[in-house]
């Protein structure tokens, strides 16, 4: 009975965040618009590179239609996987709300996982699924992209979900810095830039020097954006998908354990007056 009761408690956080996305759908739409603009600009930039560069038809294993869909997909996935965990921890610490959170008989870390899942579900319905469908139609019928298969689309869903859990675990870990400094704006900006760049949200990782690609393969970052997008586009072999899923699961466990240990140390520094 206990696991059911626990799931019920955390599902209320999921439900609240899911519904919040619908309540603020105008704001979510504007953020998506920003993401899409970035994708369009990247698409235009790549168009310039393909057309006015050295005339190559393929760059780093991507034809232009593939590059276009990659940029659209990574922009939409980046928005759908938005995870405000670190930001919320910073706000809780700054406002002193963390004190109240500590009095509740539930895990602070689990609460953030539940909220991130609700947020993800809402964002996928409001913006993710419609925009991914639209982007795929544009790339397939407008630019003649081939290779999109239904089983890859289905496999991309759990890959995206694992990406979300990873992003949440990274956010929870770095959110602990809020217990040490008030300058979380700078920390969060750097974190966001690093995660976006190293996860392949800004450019495909195949553009990186081969040594860097190999090193990144041992980190959790490619599993956040690059893996789900490449699975969706049919650019991964079954072996790569299996390794990708195993790597994601490994890092989810490691980062959550590290986050829990760090949190245990951090709460000793809590000052509940706010600041």
């Amino acid at each position: 009975m206990k696991p059911i009761r626990t799931a019920k408690i955390y599902s209320s956080f999921t439900k609240t965040n899911f519904l919040l996305t619908f309540a603020y759908r105008g704001q979510v739409f504007l953020w998506l618009l920003g993401g899409l603009l970035t994708a369009v600009m990247s698409g235009l930039l790549w168009w310039a590179v393909f057309k006015f560069g050295d005339g190559a038809t393929s760059i780093a294993g991507f034809t232009y239609p593939q590059m276009l869909l990659y940029m659209i997909m990574s922009a939409i996935c980046g928005e759908a996987l938005y995870c405000g965990t670190a930001d919320e921890i910073a706000r809780d610490v700054r406002n002193g709300v963390i004190g109240m959170r500590l009095t509740k008989p539930i895990s602070y870390q689990g609460q953030h996982v539940a909220m991130a899942i609700g947020n993800f579900g809402g964002r996928m319905i409001v913006i993710g699924i419609p925009m991914i469908t639209l982007g795929t139609i544009v790339a397939v019928f407008g630019f003649g992209l081939t290779g999109i298969e239904w089983y890859n689309v289905l496999l991309a869903v759990p890959a995206l979900f694992l990406g979300l859990l990873l992003k949440n675990a990274i956010g929870f870990m770095f959110g602990q810095i809020a217990f040490k400094t008030q300058a979380m704006w700078g920390v969060l900006s750097m974190l966001d830039v690093f995660v976006s760049f190293l996860s392949g949200a800004i450019v495909p990782l195949s553009l990186f020097p081969s040594g860097v690609q190999t090193a990144l393969g041992y980190t959790p970052f490619p599993s956040v954006i690059s893996l789900p997008v490449r699975i969706f586009m049919g650019m991964c072999t079954p072996y790569e998908i299996a390794i990708g899923f195993a790597t994601s699961l490994f890092w989810i466990v490691v980062l959550n354990v590290l986050g829990a240990l760090w949190y245990k140390r951090s709460v000793r520094h809590v000052v509940v007056f706010g600041g």
């Binding site: 704001q27 504007l30 953020w31 618009l33 920003g34 603009l37 970035t38 600009m41 235009l44 930039l45 790549w46 168009w47 310039a48 590179v49 057309k51 006015f52 560069g53 050295d54 190559a56 760059i59 780093a60 400094t181 008030q182 300058a183 704006w185 700078g186 920390v187 900006s189 750097m190 830039v193 690093f194 760049f197 800004i202 450019v203 553009l207 990186f208």
Partner: protein
């Protein structure tokens, strides 16, 4: 105006003392700007590095353009950063009351109260990038070109401020215009791309609708192609005057709608 000029150093001094009392925090903010721009440059390298050049734009020329865009952006950041607070929270939470009760221009008080020296991170990174890549570009450096670039950067500060003021002041109508401002402001990041080759429609938007291309991209293109840079400077001046005037107009109209109770 004279009163404001006399008061300004006091505001700056107060803001500096306040921010320097949290040295580590300030350093983290500067570092975050520097890291963001370094990643931006690395992205351009990864994209453009796949081909020898995109038309007239080599990687070195685009890096120089990237550095140049940071200079007016960083200066605007230092002096007018609190317009973001106006857009996101100040109107919604009814936080403008103190500025309306003092015998000094409320807009001046609102922007002068914070001197964001973290913006110097962008400024320094921009100057360093330009210093590294400018000598590597195939540009004929003339006195006219150098002065033209400085004038465009100077005018660019006011274009940035004008655009921020216009969209931040929309908060008086929509209560929180931060996301709208953020979307428009982010167009400045596209001015570091080779706009000439990204389609006429997009180039026109960047020159005439959200004119970041006018004072950031166009002067650099003029330097590379040898075109007259002063046309860019002239149109940048027109854009700066028009946008700041429009921003002030919207701010004044919006202030009449302000409610202390917030929303």
């Amino acid at each position: 105006m004279l009163k404001e000029l006399k008061l300004y150093p006091k505001y700056v001094s107060m803001s500096l003392r306040s921010s320097l009392s949290y040295k580590a925090d300030a350093i983290l903010q500067i570092l975050s700007f520097a890291v963001t721009e370094a990643v931006s440059l690395a992205t351009i390298y990864l994209i453009v590095g796949t081909v020898p050049s995109v038309g007239i734009w080599s990687f070195e020329a685009l890096a120089m353009l990237c550095g140049f865009t940071l200079i007016p952006k960083g200066i605007d950041h230092m002096f007018f950063d609190d317009l973001w607070i106006l857009a996101y929270w100040a109107v919604r939470l009814g936080e403008l009351d103190p500025y309306l009760t003092r015998p000094v221009n409320p807009l001046f008080q609102f922007v002068a109260k914070t001197f964001k020296w973290a913006g110097s991170g962008e400024l320094v990174v921009g100057i360093v990038i330009m210093a590294i890549f400018a000598p590597q570009c195939a540009v004929m450096w003339t006195a006219s070109g150098i002065i033209g670039i400085i004038v465009c950067a100077f005018l660019g500060i006011f274009v940035f401020t004008g655009i921020k003021l216009i969209f931040a002041s929309l908060a008086f109508w929509v209560k929180s215009s931060g996301v709208i401002l953020n979307t428009v402001y982010n167009f400045c990041n596209y001015a570091k791309y080779p706009l000439k080759y990204m389609g006429k429609a997009f180039l026109s938007i960047m020159l005439y609708v959200v004119p970041f291309g006018l004072f950031l991209y166009k002067p650099m293109e003029c330097l590379i192609t040898g075109e007259n840079i002063w046309w860019s400077a002239l149109w940048s001046a027109v854009a700066a005057v028009a946008l700041v005037a429009l921003g002030l107009f919207i701010w004044h109209r919006g202030l009449r709608r302000y409610e202390s109770a917030g929303n």
